[in-house]
């Protein structure tokens, strides 16, 4: 029996390893989802599953300040994503498409924020804000400025790699086929670079939503979701945090699956159309 199991594992080593790695990666998400149904009211031990309840899902905003912090995080995330994606995409175009003085320096300078430890960046930003006289106004806007700053680098890198893989002959072909500069950009360049811009935006949002160190140093009295969780963890994390966590995971899953289905349906739909 044992030898049979052993030989089965031997034959399916790749599959076995793959499943183990996936389990390792997704177990935290399962735990979070499970805990979101935990009825914690009878126990002081919050990290143990007591009994099943819908309460956490029915009253997600019950813990004081949690939904407010979530709203702050989402607003900052969306705004930072929008601004960083626009600036970063334009910068990526400049870096790939144009030869100019200081281009390689620019590449390096844009890369540096990714390599800088967050604690260093956070404290130097704080020093900057205070020195510039914004010490009393730390909050939503200073956090937003900080987030835009570190997101730009990631956007540039993501969009740049997509753009570098784009055959420049396609744009020449478009202009040969009577498309002016504007049409060439919107009909050829942009659709082909769009997947890169989209993944850059998703990356920027999750980086912003997630950030704790830089935010904590520059937020003044404003509380973002990660800061709320960190603060709550001192006393015991409310179960509703797991609801938010599960929702975020489902949202990400939905975006990935939706994108995949959409591209498959488009391919099939067009094949059927003609």
């Amino acid at each position: 029996m044992i030898t049979r199991v052993g030989s089965w594992i031997g034959k399916h080593l790749m599959l076995t390893l793959g499943i183990l790695v996936l389990l390792y990666m997704y177990i935290p998400n399962f735990i979070v989802a499970l805990m979101s149904f935990n009825d914690s009211s009878q126990s002081r031990n919050l990290y143990q599953f007591q009994s099943f309840t819908w309460d956490n899902w029915l009253n997600p905003c019950e813990p004081q300040g949690m939904c407010e912090s979530l709203r702050v995080s989402i607003s900052i995330g969306l705004l930072a994503t929008l601004v960083a994606t626009i600036i970063g995409t334009l910068a990526a175009f400049a870096l790939v498409r144009h030869r100019f003085e200081g281009r390689s320096t620019m590449n390096l300078v844009l890369f540096l924020p990714m390599a800088t430890p967050e604690i260093v960046m956070g404290s130097s930003l704080l020093a900057l804000f205070v020195a510039a006289g914004f010490g009393g106004q730390l909050g939503f806007w200073t956090v937003l400025i900080a987030h835009i700053m570190f997101c730009i680098s990631f956007v540039v890198v993501t969009v740049r790699s997509r753009l570098a893989g784009l055959d420049s002959n396609l744009e020449k072909a478009a202009s040969d086929l009577y498309a002016n500069e504007w049409q060439t950009f919107w009909r050829i360049t942009f659709p082909l670079v769009f997947p890169g811009i989209l993944s850059a935006a998703l990356l920027a949002f999750s980086l912003s939503f997630d950030d704790f160190i830089i935010t904590n140093l520059n937020s003044g009295t404003t509380v973002t979701f990660p800061m709320f969780v960190w603060g709550a963890a001192q006393r015991g994390v409310p179960m509703q945090v797991n609801v938010i966590g599960t929702l975020m995971f489902l949202l990400a899953l939905g975006i990935v699956i939706g994108g995949e289905l959409l591209s498959r349906r488009r391919a099939r739909g067009k094949a059927a159309a003609l």
Binding site: A174, D176, Y178, A179, L274
Partner: protein, 382 residues
Amino acid sequence: MSLADGARGDLKLTGLHKRYPNGFVAVESLDLVIPQGSFFALLGPSGCGKTTTLRMVAGLEEATKGSIHIGDEDITYAKPYKRPVNTVFQNYALFPHLTIAENVAFGPKRRGAKDPTDQVKEILALTELTEQAAKKPAQLSGGQQQRVALARALINRPDVLLLDEPLGALDLKLRRAMQVELKRIQEEVGLTFVHVTHDQEEAMTMADTVAVMNKGRIEQMGAPYDLYTNPQTTFVANFLGRSNLIKAKVVGREGTGDDAVVKVDMHGTVATIKASKVHTSSDEGWVGIRPEKVLIQPEGQSIDAPGAALSGAVVVDASYIGVSTDYTLRMPWGQEITCFEQNTGRRGGLIPVGTKVDVSWRPEFAFLLDSAQDVEAGLEED
């Protein structure tokens, strides 16, 4: 179907010159008239300026000097999207996110066509792509992609269609088939095709007129037959097919008009060359003869050619190809020359290596080139 209705006329390049910022002169004051409706090939090794010429016509490079006209219209500095010219790119440059039908409809839509469906259908039928209309470029084979690139350009009925090494990415068999196909389509649509290639066989198979380019200049231009049988420079003699070039001294000129000949002495043997195939005025030159025109016989046997035979050659290599046999012969003065003999069966086997042979050819096949030219010009490619 003819797409050529309303075409504006010949493509005229006048003193066209391209110098890159780094000082490299790609094209040197090129003068060229390509008649409307012709299939014209620009043939030359890489770096000879043929692609630069094409890109200047397409508007993808700007000329340094000179002008480009189609009929009476000056398009030298017009934007690429304002020229009645379309290009089939070397690697096709099909839009990967659009279907074949959308790729083909791209040009007409940019020019304001509301619903080019019928046009698209017509051109897809012409290029045998009807079945592929809804697919994406990545789902097609190389040959099909090539035809899409062609259809996408043809649908616009350009005054001039530019083809930049259009068959370079295909394998040999498909390339042969597409050569015939392209020629058929050109004859059917009647548009001016300008075809850039480094493949002499491709140029000769398809084009009415071939211009051989070298170092930014046109070396010689003409019908494939004229270029091959009567090359004017050593570059053309070597680049277009193969040639044996033998050093000779001019010893006399005889006759007038069509009968005029030049007598030359090749290492002691006197031969005659038609005056129309003599391209030097000095008293030395290279006698050129194509390998398949060279006749050989084992020493002492008669050769089916009038005039003198060169004797004392030795077979140093015989390669049996099937349809023909390639012989390499060492001449008494040390030079090696090549001879292709058709395997008609008359000989009943190969001439063994080491055999002494006599060599001759029909005088009308020989040509005489300037001795100042490099005997190895045009050989560096393949």
